[in-house]
Amino acid sequence: MVQTLLPAALAGYVLGVVLAAVGTVQRSRLADRTASLVFALSWLVHSAAILRIGIEAGRIPLTNGFEYLVVLGWAISGLYLYIASRHQVPVIGLVLPPLAALAVAGALAVSHPIVKDADGPGGWFLFHTSISTLGMAILGVAFGMSVLYLAQDHALKSRSTPGLLQRLPALEECDRIGLQALIVGFVLFTLGIGTGIVINAGRHSELFSGGAKQIFPLLAWVVFLIVLVARTWLGYRGRKSALLTIAGFLLGLATVAGMTL
């Protein structure tokens, strides 16, 4: 069942992205609306897949890399639907849903057998994984807004792409939504790292074991911290800030490499 639902959700995301691209290039409202509908339906299918994994495993599905990617994609997709319903940011359909699709595609690539676990993971572990995943999803929004910021900045600097200019959100809107996402995502991500360190200390009697699972999140955390400090106290914004946010998110994603796949 999961093996049907996840590919269906992935196909839906891909179709939605194609429709969103058509809507952007052709300036077709019909294509835009259809894309939104397809994204919403895909998200429902994606939700059903997670529910199914949870039922089959008898626990919250956040214990390995496969489940992490499935839930991360689902959260990013859900955040996209939330932002799209609240803000007029049409082109974001070309940034966040592809990210969600990549996460699902990654999950399908590493496809992990669903292991029934009667005892289930501990409460701290669930808190750690869910808060970290949600944090990363929100930081994914910051990443998406940074990508849009760079695209808009490039369009404005090059002065030669009126069509693109029309469709991209305002620079300050990208900046504002991106900053909000960065702050909330950073707080959750920090909590996730903190609880991870505590869990690690409990399991292995050491705070830091030095694996990719710990190095990448810490590197990402340092990058996000630099961006936030520079923005808040030094008024550091613009392209460099957007580039650092993108770098931080990619480092955060690399955490998957250290997970049990």
Partner: protein, 448 residues
């Protein structure tokens, strides 16, 4: 012969157009200088941020050469440079171009409304300088009325787009909503005010007008509930404003890269949008290389406008058809004007013949009373007029049929007529009646 030489946004880069940019006084002097050339009898100059065009009328085909001579001596533009960047048109092509320009069909923003006012102002300037005569007066009036028709009878005015709206659109793309934003206007130029008006409608928090002439700045600021500051204090506001409009008449940039870079540090890298609608430019183009700074000059602003483009293109096609009809109508007037001296000569010849024949037969009639004498003369003139009525009408309509030249040449040969070099008295009278005692052609000369 009518000759037009011009440089516009398509043919020449902004830095070349800047070299030719003229203030009101410059234009007047240029008109007078052009008209001092023997090859030029009437002249008109249109200088806007997008184009500089010279339209001259002269007795020969040397009008273009006269413009070249002028541009070389005054602006150091040699022929090779002009050949690369200028367009040249004569007669019907020049007329059609002027009509298209006036209707906004040649503008970078298709159908933009400002150009009509700019042509009107340039026309007034030429009249004031006394460099337009019968033909250019009529041509410009016709071009303006054709543009008015195009705006009212086609959809081209239903989708108004301008540099100002482009500026607002770009500001929206940087800041989103503009309410609460602060704007600094350098200078109090007309176009700057237009941009300020558009921004004001978007709910900006404050407009600061900074001008070398405080009174002008104050007047402009009051219109939009803003405040004026002295020129020397203006740059301090760079630290706090979000948008800067450059619209001074300064011959070189008034805002340098270093000044903006210095302000950026105090701004903590907040985005700054600079709109430079002055020609010559007010803001050093290198400012655009600074991070979080977006500088748009007149060419760049117009390049981003594609609102309602399809509707405007479709309306422009209709407007073009209308303009073509108006050009034909003007050409007919010109041709009928060309035959006017011939009609006058023909009439003079017939009346003179009548007078001669009357004198020849006069002695055979014996003594006549004064009333009989007058009746006889009137009879002769009335008969001459009757004889000439149909040929005159035929000749006047020949222009419509494109035959005026052939028929005129035939009549000249048939009656061995000599045309007067001067303009017909009827036209001179009409001009005087129309313009009253303040004759338009103060310094203008007509074809010798």
């Amino acid at each position: 012969m009518l000759t037009l030489v011009g440089l516009n946004h398509r043919s020449a880069p902004l830095d070349l157009r800047e070299r030719l940019a003229m203030s009101g006084q410059d234009t007047r002097l240029s008109l007078e200088r052009l008209c001092s050339d023997p090859a030029v009898s009437e002249a008109f100059i249109l200088s806007t941020c997008n184009r500089v065009e010279f339209l001259v009328r002269g007795p020969t085909a040397d009008g273009g050469a006269a413009i070249d001579r002028y541009l070389e001596s005054e602006y150091g533009l040699d022929r090779a440079l002009l050949d690369r960047h200028a367009y040249r048109m004569v007669e019907r092509d020049a007329i059609r171009h002027l009509f298209r320009v006036t209707a906004g069909l040649d503008s970078m923003i298709l159908g933009e409304p400002q150009i009509q006012g700019q042509v009107k102002d340039a026309f007034a300037m030429s009249r004031e300088a006394g460099t337009t005569g019968v033909v250019l007066d009529r041509l410009l009036q016709h071009a303006l009325s054709a543009a008015k028709r195009a705006r009212s009878e086609t959809g081209i005015s239903r989708h108004p787009v301008s540099v100002a709206s482009a500026a607002v659109k770009l500001a929206n793309k940087i800041f989103g909503k503009l309410d609460g934003r602060r704007v600094l206007m350098l200078g109090a130029g007309k176009m700057g005010e237009l941009v300020a008006r558009h921004l004001h409608r978007q709910g900006i928090a404050e407009l600061i007008v900074c001008g070398r002439r405080f009174n002008n700045a104050d007047r402009a600021a009051r219109r939009f509930g803003g405040r004026a500051v002295h020129w020397d204090d203006g740059l301090d506001h760079l630290r706090t404003v979000d948008i800067v409009i450059g619209c001074t008449g300064a011959p070189r940039p008034v805002l340098t890269r270093d000044q903006v870079a210095q302000a950026l540090r105090a701004r903590r890298s907040r985005a700054l949008f600079l709109i430079d609608i002055a020609v010559p430019r007010d803001i050093d183009p290198a400012v655009h290389t600074l991070e979080n700074v977006y500088l748009y000059d007149i060419d760049a602003l117009e390049g981003v406008v594609d609102d309602n483009l399809e509707e405007r293109r479709s309306a422009a096609r209709l407007a073009q058809r209308l303009i073509d009809g108006e050009v034909d109508s003007f050409e007919r007037w010109r041709q009928s004007r060309d035959v006017a001296p011939l009609i006058a000569a023909l009439r003079d010849e017939f009346f003179a013949t009548g007078e001669r024949e009357l004198e020849r037969f006069r002695s055979r009639l014996g003594p006549l009373t004064e009333a009989q004498e007058r009746a006889l003369r009137e009879l002769t003139r009335a008969m001459t007029r009757k004889f000439l009525d149909r040929p005159t009408r035929y000749l006047r309509d020949a222009g419509d049929r494109g035959e005026s030249e052939r028929i005129a040449s035939l009549l000249l040969k048939m009656f061995d007529l000599k045309l007067s070099d001067k303009e017909t008295p009827r036209e001179d009278d009409r001009k005087r009646r129309k313009n009253g005692p303040q004759r338009l052609l103060k310094g203008g000369r007509d074809d010798p």
